[in-house]
Symmetry: C7
Subunit: 75 residues, 7 copies
């Protein structure tokens, strides 16, 4: 995986589990199914985390890009 | 349902019940009638939730996209 | 009324009473005279609500779209 | 006065007194001299209000549109 | 001075003293040397005010437009 | 390294360690792999800092540009 | 130095020391190496100030424009 533009990391993370942190402090983990240039994302098998523990299981999840602070591949 | 772009999940959720969470923490559940690229949404048979319980029934509801954090299909 | 795009609901609500909720938590009810793609709205016979009660009567009212969270037809 | 677009209300309010409320909660009343599509406004004989009372007299006043929540004709 | 657009007031205030109020509540007074369509401004002989008193003298000052709430000519 | 535009500093920092500070106060340090005109960044070997100490190790990390306040080369 | 547009002050301040204040209240002082129309800036020999005192020395520093409130030449 060569990363020359920021979205390359998201492309390389497709169909892999990522951790997403929002401006309101919430954390979600799930398989990254899709994203676009606004960083809108869709996760699959998503879970909301609280202090590193699963708070609730959600399934598929659309996250609006402008609420996202960071995305970290977790595998 | 194949999801290659984030809005594919919203398209696949049309006429199905979704949960929408706003920046101010409010949660709404309802049938997704329509959305656009700004993620403006219209729900039908909408209810506002509080701690997972119905707080008020609203009927049809227009939600401005820039207040939305996440949308999760609930069926 | 068929709703395929979010603004269809606003079009169908023209000259009818709607409830508008703002980012600062304020609620207004009034007849929807006009709106545009920014969701700027003009209400007629507008009232500000507090806990579901009329707080003050305002008459005509211009609401800047980027302060609006939701719009719900009330009839 | 026929209002088919939101800015029609502002046009109809030109040279009349309006009340303007800002995102920080401040209220100003004054004669609406000018506005543009960003809702930047110029008031004349402007006063800042506090609890409906005049807090200070300002004269002419430029208000940046993105800080404005609502504009209500007051005559 | 005829004001038909909001920026006409700023043009008419060039090289005159204005009071500028920011979103964070700070107030500055100074001679308006320049502004642009974003309402970026440059003041000369600028002072920061606190409760109407001079808090500090700054000299020339660039203010980013999106932090500005209002501009009032002070002469 | 000659810096005539702000992004020149980021270009000169590619593949070097930088400290990134976010609007929510969080600090990250890592090797700058990529950035774009929105200042979206990808760090490698990233760590979140708290009071100058490593709080957690993250590996690769996508940071959304609009949450970034500052970027400082750390070597 | 003639200032007819706001960015003229920044141009006139190139390679001179400026004080930059951010939306979060932080203040930085340093030599202005570069800026662009978004007011993204690069400072050299930058220091973070606290109550007018040096809090930490940073060296080169990229500041994202949308976090900047004001820039004042300090020499």
């Amino acid at each position: 995986m060569e990363i020359t533009r920021p979205l390359d990391l998201l492309n390389a993370s497709k169909d892999k589990r990522v951790m997403v942190e929002l401006k309101n402090g919430k954390q979600f983990i799930g398989k990254l199914l899709a994203f676009d240039i606004h960083i809108n994302c869709v996760l699959d098998d998503a879970e909301e985390l609280e202090n590193g523990e699963t708070k609730r299981k959600i399934g598929k999840l659309f996250l609006r890009g402008d609420t996202i602070i960071l995305i970290a591949p977790s595998e």
